[in-house]
């Protein structure tokens, strides 16, 4: 039974893929239908999953004591705790988001937004140091690297190029004092060019990612989808 559902899923997946790619030819109703279907599924999937995996087993079940199991010898797995009802407080606080729709109470929304922003800012601030400090530390590199009392030219060049890039890009974004003179302008200009090379690398990797998606879809159509159709037809 399961394999039949899987087969149907694969066939439908193939049709959906072709429908979405049909946009490359031109805008059409077939594409529009599957686009709306996808948005609908994505929008519906998350609330169901949040309820099934989190709200029900972690909040509501223990709150109402549904997680307490009775054993045949008359004992129970654990005593239900009324402390779980305290979850209602943050839940009600979170529901204040919906005061947005009542003009008289809409000021309460600011409390929730303020709390969310404060928590997010605190978390980001705390995470900043363990994330960025090691990177700053590693930026201090020796310009001449010795290996077995001989200069390692390749690593030395890498480090010099790294430091030059770092300083020139930082200098490009230094607007506190006016840049004057040929050397200063050239240094900033080099920083701009190095950034453009970096953006080129970013763009190249984006193309690579998009192509990987195309490759996976073509592979799916050429193998899984064709096999599924052949199996269904018999």
């Amino acid at each position: 039974m399961l394999s039949t559902w899987l087969l149907l899923g694969t066939v439908l997946g193939g049709i959906a893929t072709i429908a979405i790619y049909s946009f490359l030819y031109k805008e059409n109703i077939f594409y529009r239908f599957f686009e709306h279907l996808y948005i609908g599924i994505a929008a519906g999937f998350f609330p169901v999953l949040a309820f099934k995996n989190f709200l029900w087993p972690k909040i509501l079940k223990p709150m109402f004591g549904y997680d307490v199991y009775n054993f045949p010898d008359g004992t129970v797995s654990h005593e239900p705790s009324s402390l779980y009802f305290l979850y209602i407080i943050p839940a009600l606080f979170g529901l204040l988001y919906y005061t947005l729709y009542i003009k008289r109470f809409s000021w309460m929304l600011k409390l929730v937004i303020g709390f969310s922003l404060g928590a997010a800012a605190g978390l980001t601030f705390k995470g900043f140091f363990p994330e960025i400090l090691p990177q700053i530390t590693k930026s201090f590199r020796p310009l001449v690297v010795f290996e077995n009392s001989e200069i390692n030219w390749i690593t030395s060049f890498e480090n010099i190029f790294f430091i030059f890039t770092l300083l020139s890009v930082m200098y490009y974004f230094f607007f506190t004092i006016k840049r004057e003179g040929r050397v200063a302008n050239s240094f900033a200009y080099a920083g701009r060019w190095l950034m453009m090379i970096c953006f080129g690398a970013f763009f190249g990797s984006t193309v690579m990612a998009r192509m990987a998606l195309l490759v996976e879809r073509i592979k799916f159509l050429a193998h899984d989808w064709v096999d599924a159709i052949q199996t269904l037809i018999g």
């Binding site: 949040a50 978390l123 690579m208 990612a209 990987a212 195309l214």
Partner: protein
Amino acid sequence: MKEVTERRLIYLFVILIVAFPILLDYSIPPARMKAGQSLYDKIDTLKVNDGEFAFVALDFGPGTQAENLPQSDSIVEHLFRKRIPVVLFSQYFLAEGFLKSLPESVAKRLNRETGENWEYGKDWVNIGYRPGSGILIQNLAKADKFIEVFKEDANGSSLSEFKLFKNSKGLESVKILTEFTGLVGVFDSYIQFFQKKNYVPIFGHGCTSITIPEAYIYLDSGQIDGLLEGLAGAAWYSHLLDKNYRKNNMEDIQITNTALGVSHLAIIFLIILGNIIMFVRRRRNNA
């Protein structure tokens, strides 16, 4: 109208050129990836004691499965072959399906090849999707016992019942963390919080091609110990498994990687061709 036709021809050309290696099952050996090799060596030499395990975070959905799925498949296979217990988890709700299907398919594949068994609860446990982001990861790092944070697996079974967690402690039990995602924010939460003052597990990362330039920053600073760069990284890792473990080579991912390489060549060709046409047209107009 002419521009629309030209665009359609380019799409058709790219699709045909990508389909060529896939339809003909044609593959070339992947390029050596230094960061992938480093992760392979770390896992290959890893030794775990009772109660210790690998923590595999699959933070991806169908949108990036083309790159993240082959990466995680290869890593889980390597961990299974080394008999390192695996705990799977996700902060991304669309990963639910992969958390279940991936270890099952790897276990089945290895069973067919070796005749050995990999059991749920002993060799792997699926914690499932959990919301909470950075706060959850902080709790995990602070907890004295790993199972106190999660308590249950994805099916609602108590984690304390599983053999895998019998002698497990807190973060110290995680010998290696491998995280697969295309979401920079999720990856950041592990970099920032998945560590203790005196203990940082080995950190391997599988990223999508888009996030490769950013991931290199963390690799360069030593915050991650190994990296699988998109499909190319996965192909190299799979090649290493072919060479050192597998009885039959897994051609599938090498074919996919070849198709990706061919598509790159096609795009480079189109960029050069487009520039030539532009110069010719400009010269003709000036004349």
